[in-house]
Every structure is written in structure tokens, then in C-alpha cells.
Symmetry: D2
Subunit: 425 residues, 4 copies
């Protein structure tokens, strides 16, 4: 074994992590390259070959698609997770699963260190490392892009290329795109490069996953999603009659449909976790459809006050925790433990129309509906005591009247004051 | 004056409120009919004629469009108000303004009573009456649809028609639509009738305001909205070069654009305030565009922690208060007083593409941006101390490590347990 | 069976519910009197005799002390439940247990109705009835104090006395106290009468449970409370060496100690649930000690972020739900289901000194402490990377600097502005 | 001027900051010593003499008592600020004022740097530095206890003493106490040393400010505090008839009373902001009385829903922000801007009895009370429509019944299930 010990490196097959691999060996470490299949399009065999060529002692490929979908994405669907009203957390959700795969593989291969190629300004370094420490408090982490001896040496692409040449590391001949991407089963993200100007419209050829609404078919597709305890357990496609029920197949099917129909692109300036703002473009096909569908079904079956609590407690907390890399934290364990109790009744079907970027709810039904057409009907007297409504209003108005009287006493309230407040009227 | 006194009636010109008008006179009241112009399409002169024909002593028409937009809709834009993730509160926002118009007109015309034709199961009775009591605690309210002597007598449309005939009240010959609507500058709502089955897809001919995405033009429109302190102060349409800056014109312009491009339809089963669930379809053209644009600009200029506070405090509270009819309450006055301080920096432009139901952000800019391309850039070392990020991670991980160690001590934590928890792996 | 059916009446043995009992029989019902032992001082046999004498078909006494303490009070201890910063919810917590006893007894005795003697302005009518409906949605409820035929007839004590005399109902010869009380294992409450003036100091002879701090012993007592998963599982009294471990005994022991040492009196003007304010005085002996002890132990063992979530989610929600009579609601079921996960680590001992109204924490210890003396020590360099603190500050200050610069740009920020804002300086 | 420039040092007169002063000069800086009078007991002239003797170019003493009380403490009183249910934030509140004094003095004296003697593990380094950067984003900060060249050289008291001797710095002959303290007008804190064992009872001679309840007088004192817009504007002492109205005098008077009557000691294990837990003992005399009094008055005059919003929004946020050193942040500016609107009606008197550690509310009154004795009275039928209460209950129970029926349908709910859930019954 090398003098300094053994490192498990999160390897992407690209120039950066290949350089890091070779550099770690130069620094005196043995290196095991690790790659997680979380649904990205990737030539895994080519990556294995390249890693070994760079000097890796071993290459580990873990297929983590199912646990990514079932353990991370599906709870996010259950709580309608969203960050800053726009971002569906595709990258954030993948990190805990990859980090766990790394810690497990590090244990199996006897690595004392884990290393990653995340930049020193971004969110992912935080997400990976907080996950590492939460899972294995005594793990040692190497982050070359925060290590002056690395980042000073490799500042700029030419230094990387030169080093790669010197080490015989093959470099893809394709021209680097003027942005960077991260892809998995949930989404593909685009940031940096030309996107750093938040007023620069994303070029159409950037979007790699989802058709533009303009190019999506003129004919809508209709589908039905069945939820069981808040989880999507069946998708039926009307045009073909096809049905799928396996969790991964359900997600993959929705991904294909949404990509075809232009659903799931967003463009946001978001607050990163280290205090900077950052511009990101995201394509989240299945996640976008599922969010609309799940919210719609909850309208039918979830109690009003439970929904308020779930929204302000579970949804906001879970979204923030995932964004902030806190999946393996006491507070996220707590939040996750509370999700199932909120989803007991979220059973039923949602019918949707997919058309050029739109996910249109066409109907929803459930055997556990809390909705009563008779009670709600304006045309039916039965099922609701309208005089009780008067009692509700009378009691609710007590404190408003007390406030109104107090305002009047102080010469502050009443119509005149309110109008004056209106300004300019 | 009549024996019982004078009533100001919220009059719509329809069969219900015309019947109520005549019935109030039968009951011994003098009646003044009141109508607010809050942007709905309406033949106000026909309504005046009909009210007088029904026996009203007077007919008052108040043009409240500007105060509706400036005092109610614009604060909702500033806080990104939304109810249950879907409903933009079009009806809820109109009620406080109409109620204020009524209380003011009641004072001017010497009415001791106000009356409305809202049903006894719905939200609007609550919204109107809580507003009345908040503005004038000693006002007396008549709600015929909660009065047994009225609702027992007029149960069903035929009883209303018969009474109308007996009173010489003209009835529109158009066949009643199988749903009911409420329209104002913010939105048009549809509920009841065939919509009471939440799995019944809304018929295409129901949607009266907004083109369907399918029928919207194949050519997108591009616009720029300028915000000043969170309020839309200019709209520029790229194709025509037209610019508008007056608050009402801005709103009207966005309404026309959204209606043309199929933007702003939703369909929801929502939790009404009296404990029932209800299905509603809403068309909110300008409001939908403004929400997307405002959120996008806030991403650029609003501080992260201020945004969290604003979201959980102002946005949720204001939305719930408006839905619940609590505009004239101590808590809503408090919330409204806090809005401006959150919007001081929300100044800048948002560029949008409108296309078949989609509001696509193409860019945003501001002279008060908190975004720094250099600091955020992955390619630039300057502007951010990457070693500080390591310090942040180290301090943030302290309690996660303590938790991890405690879990391990109890035989609960670590990788194995977490994996086991994953279930089935 | 009587024509109208059978009623289970919550019977207290007092003049009000005895009158209601006789009146229900007059109205044509059969009546079963129900009494719950929730720890109040009461002559249950005398109550039984009196109920039968008043005409009850049966008298049911349920000993519900253990379930009151274990199912209601202990979760309140776990979440540090408190209403409006002062009230420990003694009455609120008893209602769900009593209501459940009533619904169970009504089922066993074939009663179609349940009745109670709560006033029409108070909280308890709401708490009882919402619990009844939550447990048995089709139960029929009789609330005489909201029934005009009852309350008009029995307005004033003399009408009640006259009726009692006419029915041969024995009336206690003791002079009525100028306030009303409610007692159970958790607390004794005082309200109404002379207390209705919120500036009237409660008379010393009102307080029936707890010694005044002035009259409490001059010698403090020291005790140790052991918590297991947030529940008090042992109390040790230092002076006597006595130890108790049974949940009811633990609670009773703490009650005795607190009563002796003047601990647990409060006086509050609170917001009732129907919109009125009300003045109440409460004696909560054991509950006051447990709250202090539990909070102190949580300081040692509970994670910081978990604590924040628990406080804003579980504690506030549970307290409000209990106050509002919503124990048997979807939202309270949800909250209760989340409590245990927050208390897994709340294991350890708290040492307290009880002295003249004060509960003084003298120390706390736990085998699951998250506290590290070495890490926290100002004198030890080990266990904490002080340079990491610098990194934390540097990243945390990024957005504050951006804000400061923006303020300066606008001529708003910086020292001068802040000083000016200070006002008057 | 020295080569490296000029430093404003927060100087305490103790061994640490005297060493830092001399060391900074060794390092090539000119040093100005700064001291803020925030109400601590201190020989300021001795400090000046010592600073000059240590080599300071100048010594600046700023009397900041009034702004500390009016700008920091009083808003904390208005929101009932508290951290983790126990700590009244005495140190946290002083930091923003001292930091502002330093930035202002640095500007006046031409210092490019500010320096402090806070340890590298504690909260105060964060509070000072975030305040510095918020007020003057380009200020340069020197924190010797995070600088390896300093902390490695001065690890341990003997190194400090030796260096002091070499520099002719006078050292107090009093034996160092086995804990450290921080004192200001709001409180005195004790931590470290023997207190690092959280199960070590604080020695009686540690508490320097407040008498122990045991030693407090046997005779209570009665006082009346008058609040205006939530601020204490008058204190009247019953025994002497003395009245004070100036803000500083009010606070000082309450401090004296509380110290005499044993009020305001707490002992807590709290969560520091850098992820560690820490044990602190605090004496907060006036603050403890004011909190009790202010909460009591709010009960009388503050609307129920406004109170909920204020508690969950202003109180929690402000407390956390102050603890975390975020006074000069966008979010705290926002919170502070919202406080006055919540306190408009908080006008009135609170009568208190002070006795051996207890602050006992004896009554409260206000001309703006929202309390109505008639409406609340159980004995009066007027002022409240009891049948409306029935309507409130009926509407509130709608969703509980729907839930109950759904549970029954699923075989989950109802009495039996609830009892079973009770466990062990």
C-alpha cells in the first residue's frame, strides 16, 4: 500500500477527476475510482478503462438508480419538495445516495479517505462532505479544489490539459461546452459559462433532455397516474394503453413522456448555500409531472389543517435540508420519520393532459376522498347547516369587532382611515 | 322611510339578487342596490335599469378597478400570494374592496343594513361579513341564503322564476350554464354544476377568458416587465414596441397578452374555509405572468434569509388571511405593514417569452443585484475564499459527527443501519 | 325506554348538572350519569347517590387517571407544551380523555346522546363536542346552556335553586365561592366571579392546591428526575431517599413536592378559542417542575436544529391543538405520531432544588450527551478547529457584505445611517 | 504611522487583551484601545492607564448605555425575546452596539483594522465580526485567538503571564476565578472552568449580581410597570412611592429591585452557533421582570391571531438572529421594521409582587383592553350569542367528521382503535 493510504475518488471520467486521480497518485495515495449510476447517460465501460489507465487500483460501479428513486425522489414527491418556488432539487437529491455508495465502497475496499472533484464555491462539496461525516464521522476527506497546492497548480484548463498529456490521460476531442452539466434520473442541470450572465437567454441547443415546447408534438397525450400512500404506483398512457407499475419503470415512463412534451424546463437565480447567488437551468421531466399530479390528488383527500402543517413543516424543511446537504442529520431523520403519517390517505388517480410544456389536470378521483359533492353543492340544501355558518361568522367576528372598536376609539380605524390609507384615492 | 329601515344590497343584476331585492321590499325594507366595477365584463346600465324596476330606491355604481389593482392585487404580487400551491386568490382579493365600497355607500345613503346574495355554504359570505364587521362593528347584515324564511321559500330555480314573474322582474332568456362564475380584473372562476364531480374534465367552452394552449398562437410573444419595489411599473411588448406604465394599464396589458397566449388556467379541489372541500376552475391571466416574473426577479435581488422569512411569514399568512376573509383584521394589518420593507430592493427587469400556456423566463437584470458573476463563477478563483468553504463545512459537521457517534454508540447509525432503513436493498 | 332515547350526561354532582339531569328527564330522556376520575378530589360515592336520587338510570364512574397521565400529560411534557407562554393546559389535556370515556360508556349503555353542562361562552363545550364528533361522527350532542328553552328558564342561581327544591335535589349548604374551579391530576383552575376584573389580585384563600411561596418551607428540597425517551421514569427525593418509578406515582410525587414548595401558580389573561379574552388562574404543580426539568435535559442531549423544528412544529401545534379541542383531528394525529422520533435521545437525570416557588436546576447528566466539555472548553485547543470558525464567519459574511455594499450604493446603509436610525442619539 | 497600519482593539483591561495589545505592536501595528460602557461595573480610568502603559496610541471610552437599552434591549422586551426557552440574550444584545461603537471609532481614528480578544470556539467572535462586516464590508479584522502564530505562542496562562512580565504589563494580583464572566446592563454571564461539567452545581459565590432566593428579603415588594407601545415608560415602587420614567432609570431601577429579590438567575446547556453545546449561567434581573410583565399585558390588549404571528415570526426570528450575530443583516432589519406595528396597543399597567425569585403578576389594566368582562362572564347572557358557538362547533366539526368516517371506513378509527393506540390499557 502507498505511504499515505487509500482514497476512494468520486470519478466522472472527465478531465478534472482524471487529473485528480493522477495527482492523488503523485501525492502518494492509492486510488480506487468510484462511479454511481444514478440514471445519467454515460459510457461506464469507457470510464472504467480510463480510470484504470490513469492509475486507479480499482474501479467500482454501483447501480443506485432504484434507491435514488425510491429513497430520495419519492419522499420529495410526497412532500412536494421545491426550493425557492422553482427548483425541484434534482442534484440535491442525488448526493446523499452517491455519498452513501462511496462510504460503503470505501469500507469494502479499505479506503481511509474519500475524495471528490467539486469546486470550492459550490453546493456539492458541502452536500458530499456533510453526508460523509454524518455517515462516518471519522472519515477523512480530500477536496483538491480547496487545496491551494492543487488549485494554484491547475488554475485554468490549459494546465489541466498539459498535465493530462504528461500523464497519458486521454482527453475527449469534443469542444468543451460553454456551461457545465450534471445529469441523473431526476434532472439535468446547466450552469456556469455563458449562463453566468443572468440576463443571457439559455441557448436552445443547451437543453439536452427535454424538447422545447415549440418542438413538442401538436397532439397532446393523456395519462393517468395512480398514487398509493402518496407514491406513484401506476402510470397508464391513454394513446397506447400501456401500463407500468414498477417504481423505476413508472419514473422512467414519466421521464420519457415529459421529455417528449416539453415539460420541466426552468431557469432560476438561486441562493446557494455558501452565501452566493448562482444561475441555474434545470430540466426535470418526471418530477414536474409528479409534483402537479400529487398536489392535485392531495387537494381531494388531504385534510386542510394537516396540509397546512405538512406544507410549513415537512415540505419547507425537507426541501431546505436537501438543498443544504443535511440528509444525514438529526433534523432530516426527524422530518423523514414524519412523512408517512401525512400520506396515509393519499390514494387515488389523477388524469393529466401533457401538451407543449403544460401539465393539465383533467380530473382526479379517490375512494378516500374527503370531498362531498352534496355537501359542497350550492344547489343542495342538505349536508350542511347553513345557519351554523352564521354562527361561525358571528364567533369569528368577535375579535374583529373588538379591534374595530378599539381603532375607532383611537381615531385610527373605520372606513375613512382605511380609504385614506389607500393612498391617492 | 320603510318601517324596518334601509338596506344596501350587493346587486349583480342576476335572478338571485333581483329576487332578494324584491323580497327585502316585501319584508318592509327600503333597498339601495350597489354594484362595484372591479373589472368584470358587465352591462352596468342594464343592471341599473333592472334594479330600479325591481323597486330599488337607488342604484350606486362604484368604479373600484384602480384600488382593487393597487391596494389588493399588487401586495399579492409582492408576496407571491398563492393558496394551496395553485389558486391565485382572484375572488378573495376582490371581496375586501367591494365590502369597503358597500360600507362607504351605506354610510352615504343612510343604510343601517347591508345585504348580500352569497350562498350559505361558501367562502364569500364569510369574506363579506368579516369585512363588514371589521370596518363597521355595529353594521347589521342580512344574508337571505342563511335565513330559513328565505331559503325554504326559494329552494330551487323554479320558485325563483315564479316569484320573479309575479314581481315583473325581467329574466334573461339565455339558458343557465351548468356552472357558476365570478369575474373581475384578476380572474374568472368556475364552480358548481357539472364541476361538482372532481373527475369531470372542464368542458372547453366553459373557459371564457383565456384561449386554450392548443388554440393559442404558434408564434411566441416576448415582453419585458419592469418592477419597482416589487410592483410592476412598466411592460414593454417586443413585437409592437408598445410600452405602458400606468398601474391599471400594466395589468390590463398583461391580461390581454396572457389571455391570447393561453396562460393562467388552473383546476383545483381546494379546502374552503368552512370545512368543506370544493372544486374550482380559475383563469388568472396577468396574475400568472406576474407571479413568475416577480419570483424570478427576487431570485436576483433578494437576500436568501430575508426570502425565507418573507415566504414563511408574509406569503403564507397573507394568502391564508385573504382566503379566509381576514383582510380587515389586526393580523392582516400587521402583515401588510411589513410588506414594503421586504421589497425595497426588488427593482429590475424580467424578460419573458409567452407561448401556448408557458411563461418562460429568458433573463433578468437589476442595478441592485446581489448576484456577482465573478464570485459565483466556477472558473474564477477571485471573489471567494475557497478555504473558507472548508471552514464552513468543518463547523457545520460538528453536530452531525456528534449525532453520528451517538447513533453508533447506540448501535443505530452508520452506513449499515441507513442502508437497512432503505428497505429491501 | 323513554320516548326520546337515552342520554349519557357528564355529571359533576353540582347544582348545574343535577338540574340538567332532572331537566333531561322532564324533557323525556332516560339519563345515565357519567363521571371520570381524572385525579380531582371528589366524593364519588356521594355523587353516585345524588345522581340516582335525581333520577339517573345508572351512574358510571371511570378511573381514567393513568391514561390521562400517560396518554395526554406525558406527550405534553415531551413537547414542552404551553399556551401563550404561561398556561400549561391542565383543563385542555383532560378533555380528550373524558370525552373518550363518555363515548365508550355511551356505546356500552346504549345511549344515542351525550350531554354536558358547559357554558355557551367557554372553551370546554368546543373541546368536548369536537372530541365527540371526531370519535363518533354520528353522535348526537345535547348542550343545555346553548339551548334557549334551558338557559332562558334557568338564568340565575335562584331559578336553579328553586327547581332543585321542587325536584328534591339536595343542595350543598356551603356558600358558593366567588369563582369557579376545575380540578384534575394536572392542575386546578380558577375563573369567573371576582376574577373577571383582570386587575383584581386573586385572594390568597382562592388558591386551593399549592402553598403560597411565602408559606412554603424555608428549607429547600432537592430531587433528581430521570427521563427515558423524554418521559419521567423515576423521581428520587434527596431528603428521604425515597424513589418512585411508576408513571402515576412519579406524577403524584411531583405534585406533592410542588404543592409543598409553592411551585406552579400562574395568573393570565388568555385568548379563548371563540374570540373572547378570559382571565384564569391556574395551579399546575408537577407540570411546572417537569417542564423545567425536561427543557434542561433537552439542552444537553437534543440536537440544535432538531430542537428548532420540534419547537416550531410539534410544540406550538400540539399546544394550540389541545387548547382548541382538536386532539381527535387529522393534524393532531400527525403531530402525535412525530413526537417519539424527537425524544429518542432524551435520556438522563436532572437535579433540581425546590424552594418557595422556584424550580432551580442544579445539574444534568446523560450517557447520550451531545455536549463535549473538551470541545467547548475555552482552555483547550483540541477538539475544535478554530481556523474553521474563521471560514464559517467568512462564508456567513458574504451576503451581509453584499447587502452592506448595496445599502451603501443606495446611500442607505453603513454606520451613519444605522446611527441615525437609532433615533435621538 | 506603523508599517502595517492602525488597529482599533476591543480592550477589556484584562490579561488577554493587554497581551494582544502589546503583541499587535510587536507585529508592527499602531493600536487604539477601545472600551464601551454598556453598564458593566468597571474602573474605566484604570483601564485607560493600563492601555496607554501597554503602548496604545489612544484610549477611547464610549458610553453606550442608553443606546444599548433603548435600541437593543427594548425591542427584545417588545418581542419577548428568549433563546431555547431560557436565555434572555444579555450578551447577544450588547454585541451589535459595541461593534457599532468600534466601527465608528475606527473611522474617526483612521484605523483600517479592528481586533478583538474573543476565543475561536465561542459565539462572540461571530457576533462581532458579522456586525463589523455588515456595517463596513471592507473592514479588516484581526482575531488573534484564531491566528496560529498567536494561539500557539500563548497557549496557557503561564505564557501570557511571562509575556506580560516581559512587557511590563501590570497583572491583577487577585486569583483568577474558576469561570469567566461577561457583564453589562442586561446581565452577567458565567461559563467555562468548573461550569464545564454540566452536572456541577454553580457555587453560590459565583453569582455576583443577584441575591439568592434564600437570602432575599422575607418581605415582598410591590411595583407597577407602565408600558407605552410595548416599552416600559414608568416604574412605581409601592413601598417608597418612588416613580421613574426615563428609559435608563426605569431599567436601572428594575435591575436593583430584581437583584435584591433574587430574580433572574438561570443555568442552561445551550446550543452555541458553531455546532457545539455550552453550559452557561446567567443573571438577568430587570430583563426577567420585564418579560413577565410584558407578556402579561399583551394577554390583555393584543389580538389572538396577531400574537400567534408575532410569536412565530418576530419573537423566534429576532431571538435567533441576535444569538447568531445577525443584527446587521437584511433579515433582522426586516424583522425590526415589523415590531412597532405589533405593539401599537400594548399600553397599560402591570402590578407585580417581587418575592424570593418570584415575579408574581397581581393585576393588569389598560384603556385599550380587548377584554370584556361582560362578554366573557359565565354569569351574564349578554354580549355573546351562545347559539353562534353551536354554529362554530358545527362548522369546525365538518372536517373532523369526514376524517372520522374515513378512518372508520378503513377500519382504523373510532373509539376502539384510539383506545388500542393508548397501549397497555
Amino acid at each position: 500500500m502507498s505511504a499515505k493510504g487509500k482514497v476512494l475518488l468520486a470519478y466522472s471520467g472527465g478531465l478534472d477527476t482524471s487529473t485528480i486521480l493522477a495527482w492523488l497518485i503523485d501525492e502518494g495515495y492509492d486510488v480506487v475510482a468510484f462511479m454511481a449510476n444514478v440514471g445519467q447517460i454515460e459510457d461506464f465501460e469507457a470510464a472504467r478503462t480510463k480510470a484504470i489507465k490513469c492509475g486507479a487500483k480499482d474501479f467500482i460501479l454501483e447501480d443506485m438508480r432504484r434507491e435514488f428513486i425510491e429513497e430520495l425522489i419519492y419522499p420529495a414527491v410526497q412532500v412536494n419538495a421545491i426550493y425557492e418556488d422553482v427548483y425541484l432539487l434534482g442534484t440535491s437529491l442525488a448526493r446523499p445516495v452517491i455519498a452513501r455508495g462511496m462510504i460503503e465502497s470505501a469500507a469494502k475496499t479499505g479506503c481511509q479517505y474519500v475524495a471528490h472533484g467539486c469546486t470550492g464555491k459550490g453546493n456539492d462539496q458541502v452536500r458530499f462532505e456533510l453526508a460523509f461525516y454524518g455517515l462516518k464521522p471519522d472519515i477523512k476527506v480530500i477536496a483538491p479544489w480547496r487545496d491551494a497546492s492543487f488549485y494554484n497548480r491547475f488554475a485554468g484548463r490549459s494546465a489541466l490539459l498539459e498535465y493530462a498529456a504528461s500523464k497519458g490521460i486521454p482527453v475527449a476531442q469534443t469542444k468543451a461546452k460553454p456551461w457545465s452539466t450534471d445529469e441523473n434520473a431526476m434532472h439535468c442541470s446547466y450552469e456556469a459559462g455563458v449562463l453566468e450572465d443572468p440576463d443571457h437567454t439559455p441557448p436552445e441547443d443547451m437543453w439536452g433532455l427535454i424538447k422545447s415546447p415549440e418542438k413538442a408534438p401538436d397532439t397532446p397525450e393523456q395519462i393517468t397516474i395512480t398514487f398509493t400512500k402518496g407514491l406513484p404506483t401506476k402510470v397508464k398512457i391513454q394513446s397506447s394503453g400501456k401500463e407500468v407499475t414498477d417504481s423505476v419503470e413508472v419514473f422512467d415512463t414519466l421521464n420519457l413522456l415529459a421529455r417528449e412534451h416539453g415539460i420541466g424546463r426552468v431557469d432560476i437565480v438561486e441562493n446557494r448555500l455558501l452565501g452566493l447567488k448562482s444561475r441555474g437551468c434545470y430540466e426535470t421531466p418526471a418530477g414536474t409531472i409528479l409534483r402537479t399530479a400529487h398536489i392535485s390528488l392531495e387537494g381531494l383527500v388531504m385534510d386542510k389543517e394537516l396540509r397546512k402543517l405538512r406544507d410549513s413543516f415537512l415540505s419547507r424543511s425537507f426541501s431546505q435540508q436537501l438543498y443544504d446537504g443535511l440528509y444525514y442529520s438529526p433534523e432530516c431523520e426527524f422530518v423523514r420519520s414524519a412523512i408517512p403519517a401525512s400520506q396515509k390517505n393519499v390514494n387515488g388517480d389523477v388524469r393529466l393532459k401533457l401538451y407543449k410544456g403544460n401539465t393539465i389536470v383533467e380530473g382526479r378521483s379517490s375512494s378516500e376522498t374527503l370531498y362531498s359533492a352534496d355537501a359542497a353543492s350550492m344547489d343542495v340544501v342538505e349536508g350542511f347547516d347553513v345557519e351554523a355558518a352564521g354562527g361561525f361568522i358571528a364567533t369569528s367576528s368577535i375579535r374583529l369587532k373588538a379591534h374595530g372598536l378599539n381603532q375607532t376609539r383611537k381615531g385610527l380605524g373605520g372606513v375613512d382611515k382605511q380609504s385614506a390609507h389607500a393612498g391617492g384615492k
